[in-house]
């Protein structure tokens, strides 16, 4: 069953090929759509580590997406207004450096995932879904009521942040950054799934009792998975904010959590490239169906229903067949 890697490569190659053709045809909007798809795919790859590998149905990943977004917004807004974030006890200034922003986004999202994970991973099933949702909503209302950074209106960043040696305002160059990050994270996530940690984590999803009996605590595995998952989604949030040059509380909303989950389910839960397929399909539908009707979400809903009822493996599963146990 070597079909899945082939499908993955074709799917993945579609991103730069489409963006490249769009550049030649001078269609920057298409490039931006592909950039958006790559960033949303990244958010989905993050969720898929918790959901697909660990079986943790987090309905609060918007929390990490939003934290990543606000990490960018806060740092860049201070840099553009030349005001420090804090002066005592130590001076912390804003920054326009994308690499620093990514670092802050990843660390902040990971810390949030640690806190949320420690509390929510004591529950399972529907309670876990509800607690993660509650944390997401808490942050959403916090962002709305936090006037220092725009409150309900959000924050505009006038110029995209800097990346050494690149002009980030050029659509194709920013696409290249987002796509490279996605590729790197996919590589790491692929290794993770096959590593000792992945074997144990996935076993804990299939049968926690089995994992305990060999002397490994499922809670620790799940917590680490949740932290990695949150960090990746946080990184996606920082990129997403940079793409739009805008951050708003919407990034924290439960609709965002739902959309990230839709990418994973559409593409194929637990499949490495599932979120990539899912996010690409989502953007395609949003663009094509959204052009036809304002009610395109109805069709998305129907599609989701069909996938859940008849194609559990999602897009990747339907194309590549039953999952092979990893070798």
């Amino acid at each position: 069953m070597a079909r899945e890697p082939l499908i993955n490569i074709i799917l993945f190659a579609l991103f730069p090929v489409t963006a490249g053709v769009a550049m030649v045809l001078d269609e920057p909007f298409i490039i931006t759509l592909m950039t958006k798809a790559a960033i949303l795919a990244l958010a989905g790859v993050g969720l898929n580590i918790a959901l697909g590998l660990g079986g943790l149905v987090s309905f609060g990943h918007a929390a990490f997406f939003g934290i990543g977004g606000y990490a960018m917004g806060v740092l860049a807004s201070h840099a553009q207004s030349y005001t420090p974030i804090m002066e005592t006890p130590i001076l912390i200034e804003g920054t326009k450096s994308m690499l620093v922003i990514w670092g802050v986004a990843v660390v902040a999202a990971a810390l949030a995932a640690l806190l949320i994970g420690v509390l929510s991973l004591r529950t399972t099933g529907v309670y876990f879904i509800m607690i993660t949702l509650a944390f997401g909503q808490m942050l959403y209302y916090f962002a709305i009521s936090w006037p220092a950074y725009g409150g309900e209106d959000g924050l505009s960043i006038y110029i995209r942040n800097d990346f050494p040696g690149l002009n980030t305002l050029d659509p194709i160059q920013f696409f290249a950054i987002a796509f490279t990050v996605l590729a790197a994270v996919l590589f790491i996530a692929g290794r993770l799934a096959k590593a000792p940690f992945g074997l144990a984590l996935s076993a804990a999803r299939q049968n926690p009792e089995r994992v305990e009996t060999v002397g490994v605590a499922p809670f620790r595995l799940r917590l680490v998975a949740f932290i990695i998952s949150g960090a990746v989604t946080g990184l996606a949030g920082a990129l997403f904010a940079d793409l739009n040059r805008f951050v708003s509380p919407t990034m924290f909303s439960w609709q965002t959590s739902g959309e990230i989950m839709i990418f994973v389910i559409l593409g194929g839960v637990g499949r490495l490239f599932g979120p990539v397929a899912g996010a690409a399909l989502f953007i395609l539908l949003e663009h094509v169906l959204g052009g036809l009707s304002d009610f395109w979400h109805v069709y998305l809903g129907l599609l989701l229903l069909l996938v859940v009822l008849f194609a559990r493996g999602g897009l990747i599963g339907t194309l590549a067949g039953k999952e092979t146990a990893h070798d």
Binding site: K194, P196, G198, A203, Q206, R210
Partner: protein
């Protein structure tokens, strides 16, 4: 006088009015197979859970290799060297047979927080997993999906995973169930040699296996051990005959 490897003292567990485990004490000596028998509902499964750490006891202690493990949970007891097999197979069903034993070897090895090197390319862990499969005669099934195994094959895989843990004590809950006559006979032979590595506390319904293997047999009825002794002593014990073996053994 040799020390027992496992010593259970005055364990109690009550579910409402039901005394599921009523002041149970038993020991497991080095190289011994100690069988625990009793009619359905006698409390065998409850007692096994209390010993393995899955169920907290109301009172009493479990000592393991001279160490009091009463306060520890399943994970810590497994790490301390308790190798358990389940009455109802408890395996990672999506995995291959080999992946299940590699998971065991990984648990034994303890370095689970490794994120980069493929575990199925780890020569040491894979070799340990294969060695355990070979010992139970399942090496040719290594690449088969666990969900596709027969019931009896799953029972054997349970035993193989326990082997990878290299435990100090085996706690086996009805390993013969579903094996069929020839499979049961083969496993009986295997357990007979296994006792040299670690003693076995064996819960089993297959009386042929119990009488063939056990150095000592304890009979559990209504949460109490009513007799402990050699196979012959248990066969002759009038209390046991009345409560458990019943008319079928009288012939």
């Amino acid at each position: 006088m040799t020390e027992p490897v496992l010593e259970v003292s005055h364990l109690k567990k009550r579910f409402g009015a039901l005394k599921a485990t009523d002041d149970v004490s038993l020991t497991l000596m080095p190289n011994e197979i100690h069988a625990l028998i009793g009619p359905n509902g006698a409390g065998k499964s409850t007692l096994i859970k209390q010993i393995a750490g899955g169920l907290r006891s109301d009172s009493g202690t479990v000592e393991f290799a001279g160490r009091d493990v009463t306060a520890l949970g399943t994970v810590a007891r497994a790490r301390a060297g308790l190798g358990r097999t389940f009455q109802i197979s408890s395996l990672a069903m999506e995995y291959t047979v080999l992946q299940n034993t590699v998971l065991g070897a990984l648990g034994r090895d303890g370095h689970v927080m490794r994120f980069f090197q493929p575990v199925m390319k780890n020569r040491k862990l894979v070799d340990q997993g294969m060695a355990a499969l070979t010992r139970v005669g399942m090496a040719d099934l290594a690449t088969k999906r666990t969900a596709d195994l027969s019931h009896g094959q799953r029972r054997l895989l349970e035993v193989a995973v326990a082997l990878t843990l290299e435990p100090k004590v085996f706690l086996m809950d009805e390993p013969m169930a579903g094996l069929g006559a020839s499979g049961s006979k083969r496993l009986t032979g295997f357990l007979h040699t296994l006792r040299a590595e670690a003693p076995i506390l064996l819960v089993e319904h297959d009386m042929d296996a119990v009488f063939a293997l056990a150095d000592r047999i304890s009979v559990l009825v209504y949460g109490q051990i009513i007799a402990t002794g050699s196979a012959d002593e248990i066969r002759r014990d009038p209390l046991v005959r009345e409560a458990y073996l019943g008319a079928e053994d009288a012939a």
